[in-house]
């Protein structure tokens, strides 16, 4: 009997998701033992044309990481959707846009204008890369960059979501185990649309720092103080995204003295990540006077960046309406 087929692909990704998979070490061998790896550009021959030639639905499992930044990314997302039974949005980029999604704050023109007019750029004629360019020898082309970065589900139907930037290796290992058990008939797949490889509560729930329901008179900056290593960072005024962020990483960053920046995305049941954080941050402010509240808020220098750092492309106000808002 032939083994079920496995694929992993990166669209507009940084490669960290692939490194995280490689960091599962011996689990890679389990994948190899239980699956026929048919497409995985980082690890093996990328037989793109073979994928095209495959029967629809013939790949059992595809892990897709990276966001959709250009026409090529979209094309391959659609192709892999067609060929795969189970398509997993793998990592924050595919799930919610991640840091590259912050590009959606600015018009795409600004992005190129900035990149090609930086202080070290020698560009007196204000040249911009052209998608089609005529050289003396002939025309050469580069793909078009889309005006915004989109998440995988804004382009194709997604079966499961695996959050994290990148997903923690122990979580990846657990998911690989689960799927192998499913193959052996020892476990069942979670319902479609579920988030896998993560917890159901918040980073705060996993965080060992002590909370005293203390309110704050000002927001602080992590570099401008010596934070108490045992107390909740948010209660010390340091903007920590733990309250809205999905558990699953064992509160890694707060354990290392840093604030949670939110890479696991919205916690279970949170429809709009930033909204949840607005509510959470508003409730730690110790004031009932509008002026004073404004003064305290001045200490939060980049609220939209803080609240939508990983989630802008996938958020309510920057998401495909059809994908999230109207579907509720």
């Amino acid at each position: 009997m032939s083994k079920p087929k496995f694929a992993m692909y990166w669209a507009a990704s940084c490669g960290g998701c692939e490194i995280a998979v490689l960091n599962t070490n011996e689990k890679i061998l389990d994948v190899d033992a239980n699956f026929e790896v048919v497409f995985w550009p980082v690890a093996m021959d990328a037989k793109y044309k073979d994928v095209e030639a495959m029967e629809d639905g013939s790949i059992l499992l595809t892990l897709f990481n990276g966001g959709i930044r250009n026409d090529e990314n979209e094309h391959i997302a659609k192709l892999l959707r067609k060929k795969s039974k189970i398509l997993v949005a793998f990592g924050s980029c595919a799930c919610e846009g991640c840091i590259p999604g912050l590009a959606n704050f600015s018009p795409s023109r600004d992005i190129t204008d900035t990149a090609f007019s930086t202080i070290s750029t020698d560009n007196p004629d204000n040249v911009r890369p052209q998608t089609h360019y005529m050289m003396p020898e002939g025309e050469i082309t580069i793909p078009t960059i889309y005006p915004v970065l989109r998440t995988l589900e804004q382009v194709v139907d997604v079966d499961y979501y695996m959050p994290g930037c990148p997903p923690e290796s122990h979580q990846i290992a657990a998911v690989i185990d689960l799927i192998i058990q499913v193959l052996q008939g020892k476990a069942e797949l979670p319902p479609k649309g579920a988030t896998i490889g993560a917890g159901n509560s918040t980073v705060c729930d996993e965080c060992k720092r002590k909370r005293n329901v203390k309110l704050i008179k000002e927001f602080g900056r992590i570099q401008l103080m010596h934070a108490d290593p045992d107390l909740c960072l948010l209660e010390q005024g340091i903007p920590c995204n733990g309250p809205a962020t999905r558990s699953g990483c064992n509160a890694r960053c707060p354990s290392a003295g840093a604030q949670c920046i939110g890479c696991y995305g919205p916690a279970e049941g949170v429809q709009d990540y930033g909204s949840r954080l607005i509510a959470a941050f508003a409730s730690v402010i110790d004031s009932e006077k509008p002026d004073e509240i404004d003064k305290i808020l001045d200490g939060l220098v980049d609220p939209a960046g803080q609240f939508y750092r990983f989630n802008l492309a996938g958020s309510m106000l920057r998401a495909g309406k059809s994908a999230k808002v109207s579907g509720d």
Binding site: Q271, I278, M316, L317
Partner: protein, 158 residues
Amino acid sequence: MSDKPETKQFEPTIIGFTCNWCSYRAADMAGTARMKYAPNVRLIRLMCSGRLDPMFVFKAFAGGADAVLISGCHPGDCHYINQNYKAMRRFQLMKRVLAQLGIEPARLKLLWASAAEGAIFASEITKFVEEVRALGPLNFNATGFENQPKVEHKEVPA
């Protein structure tokens, strides 16, 4: 207040979240007393302004609202002690976030009104409608995609 709005003038859509105890009654009173106020506002009743999840506001904007009104009991009068202060803090923070997302903060308004202040409620709403009318339609493009030039997918001539 003019009886008939000029033809073709922009009619903003405004979603209003009101507290059950005071502002909703104020609105109700304004209505029963036949006080005229602009019909642009669709009111949604909450038990208390403190129940306003910022997500409702964002959802309203994403769904096509040109502006959002939040109203609740006057400071000190909230039936759930101080929940309206919570609404106020959220409101002030939301305005900042909206501004960064390209939505004018003036499209979000907080209004305190007691059950007896039907007239004030009506006139404030009318004022708000005019302010929003001056701002023009929001046309928030949640995807950032529709209004952009269509991307040509041209095959690379090999």
